[in-house]
């Protein structure tokens, strides 16, 4: 008996000394869509995340950051499952999650059940996530889908003289938000959106959708991403499509522009808007592109970072910089850390970012046009930069609230 207790004592003292020697760690959980339609987007998001770690390092004071990555497939339940696993099994204290729109809404709601932890949105862009009933411990350093479309409608109407357009988009919250931003501005300028087609996320056969595209419009807006966008373009080429195109933020993005095959060439000249532009001259953007390119061999990355890489980079930057401001202090339910996160202003590669009272980013937006660099690679070229875009898109909050939440049919095509 005494021998046994002696042994236990010795064993426990061994553990205790071990704990004393080991450096204190802060555990961070990361999710990305590493499965399904948005696989390529998730992979590049992780590249952006790693680029940020290369630049900023993993040390916060005398503490070391430890990361656990979990995979999702763009569905809300997969995101909640991954986040729950990270919290309950891996015991993470901070979350960098999620990537996609519907996931964002689900994770925000889940965040409320863990008020003691901190959730930093990685890249998701549905409006509802931070606009409706926001969670006090959920922070978003990227703009939402509607903010990413600011400037597009007006430019299409005034410079390209488009008067009537139709839209095709994936049937979920982020694309609703994108079309919301586009319709609001395009119809506000006097244009008409004659038809909005919605296809399920993960559609493979677009032939009938392509056949149903109206041909009495000036341009067709595509709100697709990942495998869906590539499938669409491939079948669009096979059907001999010739219409003018406009693109959403994940459609005109390196995830699509550098896909294999020549179907993407239909996109040359396409007008789009996003939170970044591949060829922006700004030195800090150019430096980020260089860092991204240096971090991975050419065949393991895109020629230039995608929007997802940039978002993950910015979010990781906020996560680490705010943690350094409080010197890694996560006591008192992370109160100090949350305060620092809410206040921090980021000098991000894609323009300055600060948060509003809903902890939603106010940032810079870019209207772009797709160009061929002469060697067969496609890039988005800046045609207009719009700073200080907020979530109500410059509308009075009361007027904005009356428009309604983005959905298949909201907003109506009229001037608000």
């Amino acid at each position: 008996m005494s021998k046994c207790s002696m042994g236990l004592l010795a064993l426990s003292s061994l553990f205790l000394s071990g704990a004393a020697i080991a450096q204190e760690k802060i555990k961070v959980g990361v999710t990305a869509t590493l499965e399904g339609t948005y696989t390529v987007l998730g992979e590049d998001g992780i590249r952006g995340f790693q680029t940020a770690l290369n630049v900023l390092g993993k040390k916060v004071g005398d503490k070391e950051l430890e990361f656990v990555i979990a995979s999702t497939d763009a569905t809300p339940d997969s995101a909640v499952r991954a986040v729950r696993k990270l919290i309950e099994q891996d015991k993470v204290q901070i979350l960098l999650s999620p990537l996609s729109g519907d996931e964002g809404i689900a994770v925000k709601n889940f965040a409320k059940t863990h008020p003691e932890l901190t959730f930093i949105n990685a890249a998701s862009g549905a409006q509802e996530t931070t606009y409706v009933d926001p969670a006090p411990n959920f922070f978003r350093y990227n703009m939402d889908g509607a903010q990413w479309q600011v400037g597009l409608g007006k430019y299409a109407y005034e410079e390209k003289k488009y008067r009537k357009i139709a839209t095709v988009g994936e049937d979920y919250s982020f694309i609703y938000t994108q079309v919301f931003g586009l319709v609001l501005e395009f119809c506000g300028a006097g244009g008409q959106v004659t038809n909005r087609q919605w296809v399920p996320l993960g559609t493979k056969d677009f032939a009938s959708v392509i056949a149903a595209l109206p041909d009495d419009v000036d341009a067709i807006y595509l709100g697709l991403g990942g495998a869906d966008a590539v499938n669409f373009l491939n079948q669009y080429q096979q059907a001999g499509g010739k219409a003018h195109l406009m693109g959403g933020s994940i459609m005109i993005d390196q995830t699509i522009l550098s896909s294999k095959g020549n179907a993407k060439n239909a996109l040359v000249g396409t007008l789009a808007a996003s939170g970044q532009a591949d060829t922006w001259e700004d030195p800090s953007w150019q430096k980020f592109v260089k860092n991204y390119q240096d971090a991975f061999p050419p065949n393991k990355r895109f020629p230039s970072p995608s929007l997802l890489a940039t978002n993950y980079y910015d979010s990781t930057m906020a996560l680490i910089l705010a943690l350094r401001q409080v010197n890694g202090d996560l006591s008192n339910n992370q109160a100090k850390y949350k305060e620092a996160l809410a206040k921090i202003e980021l000098d991000a590669p894609n323009g300055k970012i600060k948060l509003d009272s809903n902890r939603q980013a106010i940032g810079t937006n870019f209207v772009t046009e797709v160009v061929d660099d002469g060697k067969g690679a496609l890039f988005s070229k800046v045609v207009k930069v719009i700073p200080n875009v907020n979530q109500t898109l410059g509308y009075d909050p009361a007027v904005f609230a009356k428009i309604g939440l983005p959905s298949r049919t909201v907003p109506e095509c009229k001037k608000y």
Binding site: S208, A211, Q235, Q238, A239, N262
Partner: protein
């Protein structure tokens, strides 16, 4: 035919009317009132053709599945993996040699080889134990999926359509008449027509091989009674290997087809396994004509659904399956 009319005069009338309406919808110029209620004729015709061509692809996958089941009573749930494997092989060949046709041939033989290995190394050891075989195929499909993810990554691949197949052709079907009186003809992607024709040819060849040749006779006899066939001195194991190779090879060809007009990525294996399951359940397990009919119905339901009831398009397929299971559980064209 005449016997069917005599025995079911009401049904025959309904079928004749349905065929007449379908023909009229396809060939006639639609009056404006009709276009107003159900949309333009171009959209309808495209959805119809897309449904038929998609059915062609489903047939290629499902025919191998149903053939293997029919003869060996082996529900091969790794069939989707063979599809994806064939697609990846086809991509590798077409990317390195630039030849689309060659990619079909190589994909066929490579997946057929995998099929042979599966039959010889795995299924022969557990012959007659249906449940055990099915469980093993589930396990294999998971292992294959992870191996392919490891080798090819999560990226999506598309097999390059050869230049002579890119773009649409005009079909002699009038979709509308311009105000000047000039008819507008239907323009349709050539590659889909070619792929559909190819699957029809494969289907007919299979039917002929099964019904007109000696080996086909042996296979049909095996489907009816395996034990008696073996007792007559036929070397049944060789027949099994042959059929498994053929079924797997067809899945490989389908993979190249799917990679050409859709795309290849992890998860496609499950999608096509599910599609072929639905197809053979609707058509009847083990029946080649059943697979053809099931594939056609499912393809049409998916495409017409995506145009006319986009929100519920996914439900339609399963609704059809539920109806068939409720009213004719053995499948539409099952023999027993």
């Amino acid at each position: 035919m005449t016997r069917f009319v005599e025995r079911h005069p009401a049904w025959a009338l309904i079928v004749i009317i349905a065929v007449a309406v379908a023909l009229w919808l396809i060939f006639a110029v639609w009056p404006p009132a009709l276009e107003e209620t159900i949309g333009r004729k171009r959209v309808f015709l495209n959805a119809l053709f897309n449904g038929i061509t998609l059915g062609g692809l489903y047939f290629l996958v499902a025919s191998g599945f149903t053939l293997i089941f029919g003869l060996m009573r082996n529900v091969n749930l790794a069939h989707g993996s063979l599809y994806l494997f064939g697609g990846y092989v086809g991509y590798a060949i077409s990317a390195s040699t630039g030849s689309w046709i060659l990619s079909f041939i190589v994909a066929f033989f490579m997946t057929a080889l995998v099929g042979v290995l599966l039959q010889v190394l795995v299924f022969r050891r557990m012959e007659g134990q249906d449940l055990r075989q099915t469980m093993v195929t589930i396990g294999l499909s998971i292992v294959f999926a992870d191996l392919m993810l490891w080798a090819c990554g999560g990226d999506f691949y598309q097999i390059q359509t050869p230049n002579w197949l890119i773009g649409p052709i005009e079909l002699p079907l009038i979709t509308a008449v311009k105000s000047s009186g000039e008819p507008v003809y239907l323009r349709y992607p050539l590659v889909r027509l070619v792929i559909f024709l190819a699957s029809v040819i494969i289907g007919i060849a299979m039917w002929l091989a099964l019904n007109r040749t000696r080996i086909g006779m042996i296979i049909r006899a095996g489907v009816d009674d395996r034990d008696i066939l073996a007792a007559t001195g036929v070397r049944i194991q060789i027949v099994f290997v042959l059929v498994f190779a053929l079924g797997a090879g067809l899945a490989g060809i389908a993979g190249v087809v799917g990679g050409t007009f859709q795309s290849l990525s992890p998860g496609e294996d499950i999608r096509f396994l599910l599609a072929s399951l639905v197809v053979v359940i609707v058509g009847g397990m083990g029946s080649i004509p059943g697979a053809a009919l099931g594939a056609l119905i499912i393809g049409l339901a998916e495409q017409l659904g995506s145009v006319y009831i986009p929100t519920y398009a996914i439900v339609v397929t399963f609704l059809i399956m539920v109806l068939v299971l409720a009213l004719r559980p053995q499948g539409l064209l099952a023999r027993r």
